[in-house]
């Protein structure tokens, strides 16, 4: 509607605003995109050539040796498998548990609705802290088991509120009439809520999946065994091995096709590319989701 405005004289203040806005937006785009681009081009550049530096916008000498090296390392491949598994298993379970809770807390007739809701909301503002949490997980025998990735992340109260608000925004007669038709809450949940809440479910699924894909800290704290290493943990190890120029020059002299630096860049890209690929497609969902979150009840 605003583009059919009558052309009018630009006020000087608007000119200044335009210039500032342009510079600001350009800086934002550069700051948010360039680091990834820079790492990408270095990762596909020949490793020994890259040590010379000066690669800023385009690769100088193409080589995918770093990717070959890292993608043939069994530890890295295994960690990708663990990450894929925890994401693939953890996401649907978390979405199911969170949505079920949201549905229950959206029912007006629920007995003790207020105290039960408060029980969950309270945990957003107060917790026991890291050490007792660790101790409880230890007592539950969850440490160093795959379940430690899944169970603690089953519910996010914040996501639950998003879904609950969404359900409360749906016509409530829908549930009442299905009740009259003889449907119980389990049927309503699986047959009505899950299909009709698809947009918000996609949103929280995306958030949970990205959380699982990105998480490093819980694996670092709660697991020890090699077989449970997640991708981000291996990435941290690779990053820590990076011993600046000395190691690179040693590799250079040895005539290797990869350097610690090039491995670092390639590993970073392997962890990042899936996210970059997936999120433009689902972004309409999460923008909606964040907005729902902003317009809280």
């Amino acid at each position: 509607m605003r583009d059919i405005k009558i052309k009018k004289q630009y006020a000087p203040s608007d000119r200044i605003f335009d210039i500032i806005a342009f510079i600001f937006l350009a800086l934002v785009v550069i700051m948010c995109v360039y680091p990834f681009w820079n790492i990408f081009i270095i990762s596909i550049n020949d490793a020994t050539d890259a040590i010379r530096g000066g690669i800023y916008f385009l690769p100088r000498k193409l080589s995918i040796a770093s990717y070959e090296d890292i993608l043939t390392r069994s530890t890295f491949l295994h960690s990708i498998l663990v990450t894929v598994l925890r994401t693939g298993l953890g996401t649907p379970l978390a979405v199911l548990a969170t949505t079920a809770l949201a549905y229950v807390l959206s029912r007006q007739e629920l007995l003790c609705k207020k105290p039960i809701t408060l029980l969950f909301i309270f945990t957003m503002y107060f917790g026991g802290g890291l050490v007792p949490y660790y101790m409880v997980l230890k007592n539950l025998n969850m440490l160093d088991h795959f379940i430690v990735f899944i169970f603690p992340n089953l519910i996010s109260v914040y996501n639950m509120i998003l879904v609950r608000n969404y359900i409360e925004g749906m016509p409530q007669e829908l549930f009442e009439s299905s009740k009259i038709d003889g449907a119980n809450d389990l049927i309503i949940f699986t047959k009505i809520i899950l299909p009709l809440c698809k947009p918000i479910i996609m949103t929280i699924a995306l958030f949970v999946a990205i959380m699982h894909w990105n998480s490093w800290f819980d694996a670092y704290l709660y697991t020890n065994s090699q077989s449970l290493k997640v991708m981000q943990s291996v990435l941290v190890e690779i990053l820590n091995q990076y011993q600046t120029t000395a190691a690179n020059q040693a590799a250079n002299r040895a005539g290797q096709s990869v350097t610690p630096d090039s491995i670092r860049m390639a590993a970073t890209m392997v962890a990042t590319i899936p996210i970059i690929m997936v999120y433009p497609f689902i972004q309409k969902y999460f923008v909606k989701g964040i907005m729902l979150g902003a317009v809280k009840s």
Partner: protein, 318 residues
């Protein structure tokens, strides 16, 4: 606000009968209930752990806890007498600098994006801006370490512009670390937070802008007289959230980007509690520090909420 008023008088059902009617609801509630008790409430036993001298005796956490010697406020006293000032300085410095970077820019970004007419350009900028939000701290830390290294891009730019004549070793100077964390935090949430303001802007009635057009207002005048005042409630809520989280300066970023030589500046409440509580095995001490943080945070959130309620009833969080 839609409030339904039930007029029909229903016969009062007994609680037992209603429970039976809601058996499937409770079945759906069960997993969440188990989860919240085990994951959220069981760790609140830390309230007690902070007042005892907890030593694992191998009988399980709760049994050991019950048998631990009560020491009262000793752990808190110990904290206040030793590292409290340093840790609080670091926590608050990092936090306020983070606020400085992560608060005004998303608002400005949203306002700028709103002025862009081309939908494609707008979408491109938006999509770029929330990219950092979706990558892990491991990768973000890697990016910052790479770009701020002695032969990194930032140093090259600073040298090229003549702003410095020697490479700056960003990760060797303590106070720089506060700024690095603040910039990193701001960078990561910029686009994400802007969405919230954009949503609020899209809720502003077009009639106000049209009326302003008729009055011959310039764009800048419209921004200052319509857009920003309309954003006030959202800004207040975001500020409340930020104040409530003022002791949460981050955790992974500190561990991933910090190093031993600047520990005196990088250590914040969370990392300190982790280091002593889990790494060094001083469980009760780490818990006490964590509890101190939880209580202060809780008071901050509640206080901020009360203040905002006084301003405007609709702005409160709950």
């Amino acid at each position: 606000m839609k409030k339904t008023v039930t007029v029909t008088v229903k016969p009062v059902k007994s609680v037992r009968k209603r429970m039976w009617e809601q058996r499937y609801l409770f079945l759906l509630l069960l997993p969440a209930l188990v989860w919240v008790i085990l994951i959220c409430y069981a760790p609140m036993s830390g309230l007690y752990m902070a007042f005892v001298n907890y030593t694992p005796k191998g009988k399980g956490y709760f049994a050991d806890l019950a048998q631990s010697k009560f020491v009262g406020m000793n752990w808190f006293k110990f904290f206040f007498q030793t590292d409290f000032l340093t840790i609080m300085r670091n926590t608050l410095a990092t936090s306020f600098l983070t606020l400085l970077f992560s608060f005004p820019f998303p608002i400005f970004l949203a306002v700028c994006l709103n002025e862009i007419k081309s939908a494609r350009v707008k979408k491109f900028i938006q999509t770029s801006s929330y990219l950092p939000y979706f990558i892990s701290w491991v990768i973000a830390a890697n990016i910052f370490i790479t770009f701020l290294s002695s032969d990194g891009v930032i140093n090259k730019i600073l040298l090229g512009l003549g702003l410095t004549n020697k490479e700056i070793l960003f990760f060797q100077h303590g106070p720089y670390f506060w700024w690095i964390i603040a910039v990193a935090n701001g960078w990561k949430v910029l686009g994400y937070n802007a969405i919230i303001y954009l949503a609020a802007i899209s809720g502003i009635g077009q009639d106000m802008y049209e009326a302003a057009d008729v009055d011959g207002a310039t764009r800048v005048q419209k921004i200052f007289n319509i857009t920003l005042p309309s954003l006030k409630p959202t800004i207040i809520i975001m500020l409340i959230l930020a104040i409530g989280g003022i002791l949460n300066t981050g955790f992974e970023q500190q561990l991933l980007m910090g190093n031993d030589s600047i520990l005196n500046y990088s250590d914040v409440l969370d990392t300190y509690a982790y280091r002593y509580g889990l790494k060094n095995g001083m469980y009760s001490y780490g818990t006490a520090v964590g509890l101190f943080k939880s209580v202060v945070s809780f008071i901050l959130v509640m206080g901020a909420n009360r203040i905002s309620k006084r301003f405007n009833d609709n702005n409160a969080l709950f």
